[in-house]
């Protein structure tokens, strides 16, 4: 099975995004992510990093360029975008758990409705995942009864329940109280260790330094620097990156 498997799983090429109001959010962003790789995207707010992440599962449409996920072109009108989304998990800054369902039901819903799994099968998988994110005791709680960190871990379990090949994280710790950031990053780190392909937009430079295989710096809708964490943090050559790191570190 090793023969001719394309190592790259996300290939974004010259992705452009212009909003109807004229705002040029993405300017020819190109990025390739290999299987099992963890890529962390950093940059000041408004730099387009979240917009770029959201184009990868087409929550945001593109105005130009192309994106291939596992060889399938998202801009091809024949592509079934729901199928792509089922294979690309996403975790949001504001969790976006379904408040009318318990934690476990949140995790079970999509496998049952999209993958047409039986309730028993979905429940078994759901319980497994709740154990994995350390929330076995709280799986029958409603989101409103959980802390921010717990909600975000449920959201990760919910995305994992679809057995995605890629996980996208959109500032997963930005809405959390500081003491809860760690529990979420721990789950993400163990996920990375298991070989999950991950694209993470974050302000957590420690996470980027420790977990990332590559770090990407975006500013003003442009991808400015793409490098290994060592070079990125220890020997930055780009002046814009130096300025940014000077502000955040």
């Amino acid at each position: 099975m090793t023969e001719h498997i394309d190592p790259s799983i996300i290939v974004a090429k010259d992705v452009d995004k212009i909003y109807p109001n004229g705002c040029h959010a993405l300017k020819e962003v190109s990025l390739t992510v290999n299987r099992g790789e963890v890529v962390v995207v950093v940059g000041p707010s408004g730099s387009g990093k979240s917009t770029f992440l959201r184009t990868l599962n087409q929550l945001e449409t593109t105005s130009g360029g192309s994106i291939r996920i596992d060889g399938v072109c998202l801009q091809d009108p024949k592509t079934d975008i729901n199928q792509i989304r089922a294979e690309v998990g996403m975790v949001f800054q504001s969790f976006n758990l379904f408040p009318h369902k318990t934690a476990l039901e949140n995790v079970m819903l999509a496998p049952m409705k999209v993958l047409k799994k039986s309730r028993d099968e979905a429940e078994q998988k759901g319980k497994e995942l709740m154990l994995k994110v350390g929330l076995s005791e709280r799986m029958h709680s409603f989101p409103s009864q959980l802390s921010g960190g717990q909600q975000q871990r449920v959201a990760i379990a919910r995305a994992l329940a679809m057995m995605p090949m890629i996980m996208l994280f959109d500032e997963p710790t930005s809405a959390l109280d500081p003491e809860m950031v760690g529990e979420v990053l721990d789950v993400m780190q163990s996920l990375a260790k298991e070989g999950m392909t991950m694209v993470v937009v974050t302000h957590e430079m420690g996470f980027a330094r420790e977990v990332a295989d590559r770090v990407v710096f975006m500013e003003d809708g442009e991808l400015v620097v793409e490098d290994t964490p060592e070079n990125f943090f220890n020997n930055p050559t780009n002046t814009r990156l130096k300025k940014f790191l000077g502000q955040v570190l």
């Binding site: 599962n57 929550l59 729901n82 199928q83 989304r85 089922a86 294979e87 690309v88 998990g89 996403m90 949001f92 504001s94 976006n96 758990l97 379904f98 408040p99 009318h100 369902k101 318990t102 819903l109 999509a110 409705k113 999209v114 409603f142 989101p143 409103s144 959201a155 919910r158 995305a159 679809m162």
Partner: protein
């Protein structure tokens, strides 16, 4: 800081005001020499008078089996009419009777015209409600659709219906649409009420859906659900819960608005009331009774909605 009220005192004030209003009504009826005849009302709710069984045609009576069976032999030699269940016998063997004569009486009670009106009001409200919900749901969804044709159609419908009086719509439905499509009055009445209420429900549903954070739709779609699945499993259940209070108000309005269908001669609670007033000459009693019955209907409805709201509040 909330001001501390002496609750017992103010409850007494409330009761005193109610008693004053009641006395006022009683005294004003005295001042116009109105004689209250409440005893006339119950028979229009439940009729306990024996019910007559009348002869369907002219003929001769034959009694048999110790007066347990009445057989009416018609004059023209057709099939006889056989009567086995009755409580009071009004005829003898060999009597010659004419069509419409009372042969016998049944002791069982019957519901009276006001109760029939209540049943009709309930029926017309429930049927309209079901259709109004369906119309409202699809119009509400069309209203927020990205498709301009759907969106404009629903806006036109909503504005048209909300901008014209229900009474006029009922006339249009009965005299124009009803004539073209050959609708009976019940169908025309239900259609008018459903279309009218549907426009308001559409707006309630639209605002309910729009009140749900866009992140919910994104989360559902990011999991691979299509638009319909996301709506059905994620957005609508939440929107439904949020729209319950305005929805309850709209349902209550529907029950009250259903009184307007009496203009196309549907005997609902209001029309039954008018008819009973004509035969009893007791307008105050009848209209108070009718008002009370409407209150029972709407009260029961808001009670049920409150129950539902409490049950759905589990996840809050």
């Amino acid at each position: 800081m909330d001001k501390q009220y002496n609750n017992a005192f103010w409850h007494l004030v409330f009761v005193a005001i109610l008693i004053t209003i009641g006395t006022g009504v009683y005294l004003s009826s005295k001042s116009i020499d109105y004689t209250w005849r409440w005893e006339r009302i119950p028979q229009y709710l439940i009729n306990t008078e024996p019910q007559d069984i009348t002869a369907p045609f002219d003929g001769t009576v034959e009694l048999s089996d110790n007066d347990k069976t009445v057989t009416l032999i018609p004059d023209n030699g057709e099939d006889p009419f056989v009567l086995k269940q009755f409580d009071i016998l009004n005829v003898d063997d060999g009597d010659i009777v004419f069509e419409g004569d009372a042969l016998a009486g049944l002791d069982n009670w019957q519901i009276g015209p006001i109760t029939w009106g209540l049943v009709m009001t309930l029926k017309i409200s429930m049927v309209s409600l079901v259709f109004a919900l369906i119309i409202g749901l699809f119009t509400g969804l069309a209203r927020i659709s990205a498709n301009p044709a759907l969106r404009n159609l629903s806006i036109t419908y909503i504005e048209l219906i909300r901008g014209t009086p229900l009474l006029v719509q009922i006339f249009i439905f009965y005299f124009f649409i009803g004539t073209v499509l050959e609708l009976d009055r019940f169908t025309a009445g239900v259609a008018a009420l459903a279309v009218f209420t549907g426009a308001y429900i559409a707006e309630i549903i639209r605002s309910g859906i729009q009140s749900i954070h866009p992140g919910q739709m994104e989360a559902a779609r990011s999991l691979g659900m299509n638009y319909v699945q996301a709506m059905v499993y994620v957005i609508l259940p939440q929107a439904f819960k949020r729209t319950l209070p305005p929805m309850a108000g709209q349902f209550i309005n529907l029950i009250k608005d259903s009184s307007l269908v009496s203009v196309i001669a549907i005997t609902d609670l209001s029309k039954a009331g008018r008819e009973v007033v004509n035969s009893t000459f007791a307008p105050f009693e009848v209209w108070f009774t009718v008002a009370l019955l409407y209150l029972v209907l709407t009260g029961a409805l808001s009670w049920m909605v409150q129950k539902l709201e409490k049950r759905l509040a589990a996840s809050d």
